[in-house]
Every structure is written in C-alpha cells, then in structure tokens.
Amino acid sequence: MRDKKELQQIANGLRKDIIKMLCESKSGHPGGSLSACEILSVLYFDEMNIDPKNPNMEDRDRFVISKGHGAPVLYAALAERGYFPKEELKKLRKTGSMLQGHPDMKGTPGVDMSTGSLGQGFSAACGMAKSAKISNDDYRVYALLGDGETQEGIVWEAAMFAAHYGLDNLTAILDHNGLQIDGKNSDVMNISPIEKKFEAFGWNVIEADGHCIESIQNAIAKAKEAKGVPSIIIASTTKGRGVSFMENEAGWHGAAPSEEQRDEALEELRRCMQND
C-alpha cells in the first residue's frame, strides 16, 4: 500500500487541478468532484491494476464514474497518473477538446465508459463485471455513484442484477455527500436508509469515511474479501470538500469559480497541503 500521507497529498493536488480547470472553462461541476478526491486517489494511485501506457490493457481493472458530472476529478486523476498531459486539463469543455463535459470513452484515454446520464454507468459496470464472470477474467470493476443518482430507477435494476448474478468482482462506491442540485437529498427525494436499501437488494454494505485514505483502503480490502456478493462502500463525504466557501453548498454543484474565487480556493488548498 502507498503511504497514506502521499495519497492525501495527491487528493489535495487533484482538488487544485479541479479548481483550476473549472475556472478556465468557466463551467463544470466542482462540488461532486471535490467530494471524491480521496476515493479516486486511492483507486488510481494505490488500488487498481492499470497501465497508463496501455489504457486498453485487457485485464485492467475498470473504473466507471457513473456520476458523470464528476468528470473533473476523473480527468485530474487520469492526467496525474499519466494518461495524457496535464496541459489538456485547460481545454476542459472547450470546443474540440478531448475532455468533454461528461466522460467520453472514445475521446479520452483511460475513460472506461461514457457516462453523464445518471444510473447508466452503474448498469454498464455491472455488465463489465458479468463479462469477467462469463470468461473467467480476474479484473475488478469499480463504479462511483452519486447519492442523488440512486433516485434513478436503472440503479435498482442494476443493483438487483449484480446481486442475482453474484458479482463479487464489482465494488460500487457511493459518494454520499447528501446534496443534489435542488438541495438536500432528504428534502428533494429521500434516499435514506440507503445502506438498508442496498442490503435488502443483496449487497455487502461497507461504511467508510470518504475523506479518510485509510478508511477507504480498509473498505476496499473488505469488499475484495466478500465472496459471491457485490459490495458497496457508502462513503460519507462533504460536497465541495477542501474549499470552505463551497463546502455543503448545493449551489456549487454545477458552477465554476471566478478568478478571485479560484485564487482563494487555491490558497486554502495550499495551506492545507502544507499542514498535511
């Protein structure tokens, strides 16, 4: 396992890249990207069997960002991992860019599934895991879901499928930050008790602190031990994590920071990295 401090530094670095690229493109989704930085840091820099030089390696582990609006954190992680030059991040959402507003598997090396319409990535991830079972491949599939996303019907069709076919090579991670565009999950459409819902659907449910590297690592280890059932890690997170004026503000779901806000955010993240 990689050093926890190092992984935390990577997570904070991803945050800086997210803020920079969103300010540059003047659009995008900071809240749900900032909330998933530790999760992607652990997956891309510690856990997954991947090779940036060979993005389509057949036996690679797969990652599907089902909450496709979290594209910025994925792009930041892919660039940091060496799938493409960091320069590309500046072109996010711009005409002709390989970094689309939502992930496009045909355009961006390292993107395993095109997503953006909620729930669809999760279903595709289940298909990938089922495919491995059919041909006895031993790669693992990771799917990152948003909590608001679980309001989509297809999520539960897929959840039923994964349990029915015993997809223990599949680990879903719920970025549970409690907010969606129109406000709190609990006000818009209550998803609670989400743990019990997945349990009832036959899943191995693991709880974790989504901003604690060690907690995420332990949860992934537990998921890999579970046999015959898919696992979901309910990761408690804070939307907008790391940038105090964005934290827990639904308004920062899909708004880009101004240059002043960018500088303020970067300064805060810089101080935070020094302290870590």
Partner: protein, 312 residues
C-alpha cells in the same frame, strides 16, 4: 408458399452463432420464449443472460459487456427496446459506438391483439435518427437469418427489427446473400418503383403482379437496410421510373418513406406516395385484419402506383 416469422429466424441464427462465435452473448428481459432467444439458452446457457423485466438495464448491461469485447445481442419487444430504453441506447451504446446488437421482435401492427401499447410503429424513426446506429429490417426468415449472422461480423451498434407473425418466404436460403446497406431489386420495371421493407416486401411483389396485368411495369426493391440507405439504387429508380411508392409497417413519419423522401428531395425529386401507418396509434385485433384496416396492403400499394403513373 412457405412462410416463417423473422423472430423464428433470429432463434435459428443465434443457435448457429452459439457455436460459431464465442464472443456472442445473448440477453433478454423475460421474453426469451417470445423473442426466441430461448433457442440460444438451450444450447449455450453460459452465455445467456436474463436481466428480468428491466429494459433500461438490459441495454446498460449490454453496453458494459461490449466494452470488454463481447458481442451482445440484446433482445426484447421493439416497443420496450426503442421506447422505454431509448436514452440508454443513445447514451450508452450509440454515442460510445459500442458493438451491441439490439434485436427487437414484435415490431409493428402485426403484434396484433396486445394492441397499441405493444405496437412499435415509431422504432425505425427513433433508431434511424441516432448517430452511429445501423438499422436493418428484414423481409423474410431467410433474410433475417442472414442479417443476424452478418450482424455478428459487423462491428458497431445495430438495430435489427423483427416481427411476431409469419411472413411469406421470398428468398432461397441456398443463394441469398445479405449485403449491409444494399437494396435488392426483386423485379425490374419502368413505370414506377415500389420500395418496400420488412413484411411489406411480399405485399409489394403482389402489387407489382397485379399492376402488370394492367400493363403497368413496376420495379420492386427490397430495402432491408434503412440506415445507411442505398442512395444510389434509390436515385437510379427515381431517374428510370419517375415515380416512387414506399411501403412499410411503420408510421409514415420517420421511417423508410421519410428516408427515401430525404434522398429524393436532395438528389432527384419525383412524385412519391408513402404507404404506412398514417400518424395514428394501432389497436387490438388480428394482425392481418389490422394491416387491412390501417391500409398496409398490396391493394393500397397498387392504388398509389396507379395514381402516380396516371399523373406522369
């Protein structure tokens, strides 16, 4: 004349593919006996996946399978495949250009007694307007079988439209060759061209026979691939006969008739009539009776042809 439902041909083709191509995976949403994917299940259970009554997930799972190199055939009734799961097909299959075959049975009015809720008459329109999607609508069992075998070879998303009811067999299995995107001239003619697809092809042939008795020479063309459509053959027919009639078991909006009109208006405008469902929903009833009631008959094709010829 022998007859066979195109869905039965689908089952037969899948049995061949079970042995021939180990990448082929067949999915169904609790309709395997009706869609005939049960034929595949019998011989290859390890590569058959029932997703239950969940058409959106059917398409999502198929997309995921395709990303790992499998060739999924995702099957359900045309209504639920193209209607209920439309956006999943668009965003998870069409947009990433994944190698999924959406094989939809029970298309059109001839699903019959189940009525309007089950009669997909907009499916060609929906699939045709989707970038990357190839649309195939076979005329008989022989063509359907060949098209499905060919679909496994073609890399990319494809919609294959199949029917519930038996249709007359037009082609000889021993000599038939399916060529994606190429229309087939079934009878030569110089006064009018009848461009038909699916189960309307045999009716077009009947109409041409009827017309020949009256001294009208009708060319009959089977358009099994609606997209990419055979522009060259359509323009040639328009130039040489000066009148075009289209026939399809589908709404006249967005299907074969529209596709042909698009080509003609750009390249060779000629008089045209479209036989199809006239912007209305169907109803419960015997398939043949419904075809009669909604004007999908050889008589209507002949009538439209006569009218055009008289106006020339």
């Amino acid at each position: 004349m022998t007859s066979m439902a195109t869905r039965d041909a689908y089952g037969q083709a899948l049995k061949i593919l079970a042995e021939k191509n180990e990448k082929v995976v067949v999915l169904d949403a609790d309709l395997s006996k009706s869609t005939k994917t049960a034929d595949f299940l019998k011989v290859c259970p390890e590569r058959f996946i029932n997703v239950g009554i969940a058409e959106q997930n059917l398409m999502g799972i198929a997309a995921g399978l395709a990303t790992t190199g499998k060739i999924p055939f995702a099957s359900t009734f045309a209504m639920f495949a193209t209607g209920r799961a439309y956006e999943i097909i668009r965003n998870s299959i069409g947009y990433p250009k994944l190698n999924v075959k959406v094989a939809a049975t029970h298309a059109g009015l001839t699903v019959g007694e189940d009525g309007a809720s089950h009669q997909a008459i907009e499916d060609i329109s929906l699939m045709r307007s989707m970038p990357n999607m190839v649309v195939v609508n076979p005329a008989d069992g022989v063509e359907a079988k060949a098209a499905i075998l060919s679909a496994a070879e073609y890399v990319g998303p494809m919609y294959i439209r199949l029917g519930r009811s038996k249709v007359p067999t037009i082609f000889d299995e021993n000599t038939y060759k399916f060529e994606l995107g190429k229309g087939i001239v079934l009878s030569e003619g110089s006064d009018v061209s009848i461009l038909a697809t699916g189960n309307m092809v045999s009716k077009a042939l009947e109409a041409a026979e009827e017309l020949s008795k009256e001294g009208i020479s009708a060319r009959v063309i089977n358009i099994h691939t609606i997209k990419p459509i055979d522009r060259e053959l359509i323009v040639k027919a328009a130039k040489e006969t000066g009148a075009i009639v289209t026939a399809e078991e589908h709404s006249v909006i967005g299907g074969l008739g529209s596709a042909v009109a698009e080509v003609l208006s750009e390249e060779c405008p000629v008089m045209m009539r479209r036989i199809g469902v006239q912007d209305t929903y169907g109803e419960s009833g015997d398939g043949d009776e419904l075809m009669e009631k909604y004007g999908l008959t050889s008589n209507k094709i002949a009538e439209a042809s006569r009218e055009l010829v008289s106006k020339k």
